[in-house]
């Protein structure tokens, strides 16, 4: 029981992490209508930026944790957004209006490029930082097993939920969100209505990158170790989460992330850890067979 509870906490944290990255995915999807394969690598870049920022702070003897976190978040969001902007500008904008697969391929190219650029400039070695947010609360001191939840775990879960709500509100309720969706559905028409398509798309990419930056900082805080390869697996898992929840739906992305986190954690806890990814993808297939547009995705009814 205590064991299950602890695994639940593990699964929720992991799921929130996936969800956070998946929200960025889905948001960018909502505007270019194409999976941005480089998102995972933007996330990786942000984690490196966070590590550098933390290291600078450590060198400057900053000890206040809230202060440090705020500083790192701001720095990371700033630079990572710049990366998001630049990636869109160079690898996607020139491809507007060509086949849907063209940006997918340049995204894959971009992903390879970013990975290697970071490896070259920052080195192939893993980058650790000392634990930032240590400790937590003991939830249950069961005999022989204490269930605890770390501060950083709480931070991740809360951040994900808050950001999910905020961005959902933005996309569904504000004129800017409406313009974003319009850009995805018909860019020409949007511009005929006076929407600055380029700016809207650029800004969305920056927001997506900012979300990745938050995720990058969280990863750095929680796991304390980053390397140039973390974008890949995280990207694929988050992509899966986004699809499971229904691409384009932010609550869906979070739900998908949580679900995958829980499946992974419980499958590994009670069944065969080595087949946990098979379980994840298997459940994904099952869900999609029953609901072809994901859990919270709106079914695509095409009127003929």
């Amino acid at each position: 029981m205590a064991y299950a509870l602890q695994q639940l906490i593990n699964g929720l944290t992991l799921g929130a992490m996936y969800g956070l990255i998946a929200i960025g995915y889905t948001m960018v999807y909502g505007i270019i209508g194409m999976i941005n394969f480089a998102h995972g690598d933007i996330f990786m870049v942000s984690a490196f930026i966070a590590v550098t920022a933390f290291t600078i702070l450590a060198a400057a003897d900053v000890t206040s944790i809230p202060l440090a976190l705020t500083f790192v978040l701001i720095v990371s969001i700033f630079f990572t957004s710049a990366y998001g902007w630049a990636v869109e500008r160079t690898a996607y904008r020139p491809l507007r209006g060509s086949t849907r697969l063209a940006p997918l391929i340049s995204a894959i190219g971009m992903s390879i490029f970013l990975q290697n650029a970071v490896q070259l400039t920052q080195g192939a070695r893993v980058k650790p930082i000392p634990p930032v947010l240590e400790g937590g609360v003991v939830l249950w001191d069961a005999p022989g097993f204490t269930v605890q939840i770390g501060w950083s775990q709480m931070l991740i879960i809360v951040t994900t939920v808050v950001l999910m709500l905020a961005f959902t509100w933005m996309i569904t309720q504000t004129p800017f969100g409406r313009q974003q969706r319009a850009c995805e559905q018909d860019r020409t028409m949007a511009s005929l209505l006076g929407v600055n398509v380029d700016r809207t798309i650029s800004f969305t990419f920056m927001l997506g990158a900012a979300l990745a930056a938050v995720a990058g900082v969280m990863v750095t805080v929680y796991y304390g170790v980053v390397d140039f390869f973390i974008g890949f697996l995280a990207g694929i898992k988050a992509f899966t989460a986004a699809v499971l929840g229904g691409i384009g739906s932010l609550p869906g992305a979070m739900l998908g992330g949580l679900l995958i986190g829980l499946i992974e954690s419980f499958w590994a806890a009670y069944l065969w850890a080595e087949y946990k990814d098979v379980a994840t993808f298997g459940i994904l297939c099952l869900v999609l067979m029953l609901r072809p547009s994901g859990l919270l995705g709106r079914p695509e009814v095409e009127k003929v």
Binding site: Y3, T13, R125, Q148, L233
Partner: protein
């Protein structure tokens, strides 16, 4: 010029190992050339990047054959070494490798010389050590599903069972992930205190960090990959709980002292595979000098027959090409350095 080559993961996930090999080989070549080269010719180093991908490894092998190399040090990943060696053997190129999978030398190829021990040997050493030192404790055997990791973990488990210690858990993880809290929780639940691990150091660092956060005291026993000092940087003080098997520390080899100094002066810590790469080049130098030729047949004969004094100690090979006295030793990290475990 005499072209000789190294090959390994210069890019990709394991690029830090490739880096070590390159640094070691570069220094060796510089030193050899400073001594006047081999048989009067200067050595020229070719570097091949296989990213630990078997297909690329074959491609690298072919490039190297074309460049007319006379000696290869590599590859690093067993899964690359195995297919690449088939190319080298056809092209009559001798190779020295640090790949530890038994298959590397079990296929009857004549051109392979392993300057490192085998996974079955190090698994035996590690497993027996666990069985002897942690009697009555609960031990989990975990691997990362890589050819190397799984092979090593299997051997450790076998050795432990041979000595009557049955692993409490047998688990596998996916390398490259970041979250091992699930595994940690499972270990904690099962009351495991010792983890025998087959895989790379990066995962061990994460597992240790997360174990510490979860309040689990874990001792880890790993293999040759744990020599990487990244482990210490990444795991912090928890690295002191890591033990591993490796050939006797070449840095302790008194003969190696000047070379070690040189590396340190050049800001390179001669850990892991650095000195092995250096030694591989020495092996070639000495074999060629002894054979007075760089022809395959002569080199092969010289290597198989001779004993070579290198920075990693004396090298001699058996019929399969395995090092005769690999002698694995158990180490333990302590305050950022590793040393023989008591």
């Amino acid at each position: 010029d005499l072209p000789v080559a190294i090959a390994g993961p210069m890019t990709g996930q394991y690029a830090s190992a490739g880096d070590q090999i390159r640094k070691g080989a570069e220094m060796a070549i510089a030193d050899i050339n400073a001594r006047g080269g081999v048989l009067g010719e200067k050595l020229k180093l070719e570097v091949g990047d296989d990213a630990c991908d078997p297909k690329q490894a074959v491609s690298v092998a072919n490039t190297m054959v074309n460049k007319g190399i006379v000696f290869m040090h590599g590859h690093w990943c067993s899964s690359s070494t195995i297919p690449a060696s088939e190319v080298y053997v056809e092209a009559d190129i001798p190779m020295a490798t640090v790949s530890t999978n038994p298959q590397v030398t079990e296929r009857g190829l004549k051109n392979i010389f392993r300057i490192m021990g085998r996974d079955d040997q190090q698994g035996l050493v590690a497993g027996s050590y666990i069985a002897d030192s942690f009697k009555g404790k609960k031990v989990a055997v975990v691997d990362d599903k890589s050819a190397y990791g799984k092979g090593l973990a299997d051997e450790m488990a076998k050795a432990m069972e041979g000595k009557g210690l049955k692993p409490t858990l047998r688990e596998a993880i996916t390398a490259g992930e970041k979250d091992y809290s699930g595994l940690v929780t499972k270990l904690k639940q099962a009351g495991v205190e010792v983890m025998a691990y087959g895989g790379y150091h990066t995962e061990v660092a994460l597992i240790l960090r997360q174990a510490q956060a979860a309040g689990l005291q874990l001792t880890v026993m790993g293999g040759d990959t744990m020599t990487n000092s990244e482990l210490v940087t990444a795991a912090g003080p928890a690295a002191d709980n890591v033990m591993f098997t490796f050939s006797p520390d070449p840095r302790k080899n008194p003969d190696a002292a000047p070379v070690v100094e040189k590396f340190r002066a050049a800001k390179v810590e001669p850990e892991g595979y650095v000195l092995y790469a250096y030694a591989a080049m020495q092996l070639f130098e000495q074999a060629a000098t002894a054979a007075k030729s760089t022809k395959y047949a002569d080199l092969e004969k010289a290597m198989r027959g001779g004993t070579f004094k290198t920075v990693i100690g004396d090298l001699a090979f058996d019929a399969k090409g395995d090092q005769k006295a690999p002698g694995f030793v158990v180490y333990r990290w302590q305050g950022g350095k590793y040393d023989y475990a008591k």
